[in-house]
């Protein structure tokens, strides 16, 4: 039941994102600001308030881990359907990946390393 509900919600988000970016992707591609907003739409303004409990906190996560995750989604090594679609729409460059990872890792949240 819960899964059906979150699947429906995910589908809604997919369609919403697709609609927002449909025009941009046909032309010059989204600006960095729009790419940032696409992440924030599900992970929260600063990556600190995920919209659904299944979505991870990004704020304060290690930059290199976030960048690696984005590369894995871009290269199809990670296959979450929402993230896969975002990759098709956003066409992230290596610079975008570095900048997004840097942005979210520098935000604050409850996230902490258990080594500290």
């Amino acid at each position: 039941m819960r899964t059906a509900k979150s699947n429906f919600f995910a589908l809604f988000l997919l369609l919403a994102a697709a609609t927002v970016f449909a025009s941009e992707s046909a032309t010059d591609g989204a600006s960095f600001d729009e790419k940032l907003k696409a992440c924030a739409a599900c992970h929260g303004q600063n990556g600190d308030t995920p919209l659904a409990p299944e979505y991870p906190l990004l704020a304060g996560q290690y930059e290199s881990y976030l960048a690696n995750s984005l590369r894995q989604y871009r290269d199809g090594q990670r296959t979450n359907p929402i993230m896969a679609l975002q990759m098709q729409i956003l066409n992230l460059t290596e610079d975008d990946i570095e900048a997004l990872a840097s942005h979210f890792s520098s935000q604050s949240s409850n996230l902490r390393s258990l080594a500290d």
């Binding site: 995920p50 659904a52 409990p53 299944e54 979505y55 991870p56 906190l57 304060g60 996560q61 290690y62 930059e63 290199s64 881990y65 960048a67 690696n68 590369r71 090594q77 990670r78 296959t79 979450n80 949240s109 409850n110 996230l111 902490r112 390393s113 258990l114 080594a115 500290d116």
Partner: protein
């Protein structure tokens, strides 16, 4: 049964009563998460290739951790060490491990 044993049992029972509202058991999760600490609680630990920091898990969402572990178990997400570790976990175990990490944020 001696008194210390009985008081420990009473303490455990009241703990489980306190957690009854939550579906997942963070205390059990802590026990199951011992293995995780070998990488996720080591200061400055890097995945070797490709090179990236082993992610922070303290305070991360329980449901996210649970879904990540499921993805490692099914092979939807590939990482040798994580695939091997997740393979041993039941759905209940994954929920408990998630609850443990979520409860250990800042």
């Amino acid at each position: 049964m001696n008194w210390p044993t009985i008081s420990v049992l009473v303490a455990i029972c009241s703990l489980s009563w306190a957690n009854a509202a939550l579906a997942a058991d963070a205390a059990r999760g802590k026990y199951l998460a011992e293995t995780c600490m070998g990488c996720h609680a080591v200061k400055g630990y890097y995945n070797v290739y490709p090179s990236y920091r082993v992610p922070k898990l303290g305070g991360q969402g329980a449901k996210y951790i649970e879904s990540a572990l499921k993805a490692y178990k099914t092979g939807e997400r590939l990482h040798g060490t994580m695939n091997a570790n997740a393979d041993n976990l039941s759905n209940e175990d994954m929920a408990d491990v998630g609850a443990f990490f979520e409860s250990h944020g800042e």
